[in-house]
Amino acid sequence: MNNSSKKGGFDVDIRSLLKLQHKRVYSICRLFTHNYKEHQDLFINIIAAVSQNIQSRRQNSDKQTLILRACINMAALHSITMEPEPARERAIQFKSPDYQRSMTRFRESIGEASDYEKFRLFLEFEGMPTEELTHLTGLPLPGGVAGKKKEKESELPLQRKALFNFIPYLKEKLVWS
């Protein structure tokens, strides 16, 4: 039986994967949403992003990494778009009483944690090693790893550094990074 057969234009492999990974997607929704609607919207957007990532992935990219990156990037995008919302609309309001209770207790215990801390918590709860944070976000790891990278950068030959700064204005205009 061919597992990757298409049914209704949608890869069965991806469908099974998304069904298996839905708990992981819900985990990040717990950390970043405040009410039922936000929770459902973020979940749908992450699933759509995961599916898009997997469908357009390059051969050497790992599915787990693509899932986690979609979760993190969509959560960040959610935070960016939710930022102008007034505080009163950010109250915790969920439909199931049990879920509301758990969420209130959990939010009280994390307090005003930043998104960086929430990403670390997400990886911790998902049982991922701390080193994965750099791989998934491009952010330096807490501790000495960042220092080592800076040291490496300072070892770049001066000539090469000068080349990088060649006509900065023109470079900025011509090269979009």
Binding site: R15, A48, A76, F106, G138, P142
Partner: protein, 209 residues
């Protein structure tokens, strides 16, 4: 110790709830075709529409330029300038769409993703300058057309006075740019500021840890 407490609260979440029900196959079929980008962030469609419209105008511009060249018309320089602007606009928008590469954007690491999003929004804001420039040319054409209906003399006088025409063109373009800056552009500027603030904030937080 603190993490232990958090883990304990985390584990207390109900195994199954209205909020965290298993995803159904029928729901998945609908979800996966959805565009994960929404609202102001979703620029792909807008860029595609612009590319199509500007390409049509570019084709019309070729015809106009050819006509002006053959008849040695009075608007040759204007047609050349418009054609140049249309060509660069198409190039700029296609380049932006290819650079954004929306299908792989969400698979980038967070900082690269935010950096790319920042560049895309920044360049999209810049692209409104081209729209203002093009609006200047086409509104001037519209004014000339209206004048030809109302007052033939005024239209003749305008079409033979290049200096006034260029001044009107610049005036219309700048006015249109100001109009865009007060109507459409602010929402993209707010988004750009939010993305920058978030990126800088998260980087600062990571370095302080």
């Amino acid at each position: 110790m603190e993490l232990k407490k958090l883990q304990q609260h985390w584990d207390e979440f109900p195994e199954m709830s209205m909020e965290e029900r298993p995803v159904l196959s029928s729901d998945l079929e609908k979800i996966v075709v959805k565009n994960p980008f929404s609202g102001t962030i979703n620029l792909r469609r807008k860029l595609l529409i612009r590319i199509v419209v500007i390409s049509v105008l570019w084709l019309a511009g070729i015809g106009q330029l050819r006509f002006q060249w053959k008849t040695d018309g009075p608007d040759l320089y204007q047609a050349v300038a418009l054609f140049g602007l249309l060509t660069y606009s198409v190039y700029f928008h296609v380049r932006l769409l290819l650079f954004a590469d929306y299908s792989t954007l969400l698979s980038l690491p967070l900082i690269s993703f935010l950096g790319k999003l920042e560049t895309v929004v920044d360049k999209y804001i810049l692209s409104f300058k081209f729209i203002s420039g093009l609006a200047g040319f086409y509104l001037l054409g519209g004014i000339e057309w209206l004048l030809s209906g109302w007052s033939k003399g005024a239209q003749e006088s305008l079409s033979h006075n290049d200096w006034y025409k260029w001044l009107i063109l610049i005036f219309i373009s700048v006015s249109f740019d100001i109009l865009l800056m007060h109507t459409i552009i602010p929402r993209y500027q707010r988004l750009l500021a939010a993305v920058r603030k978030y990126k800088e904030g998260i980087q600062a937080k990571a370095q302080n840890k």
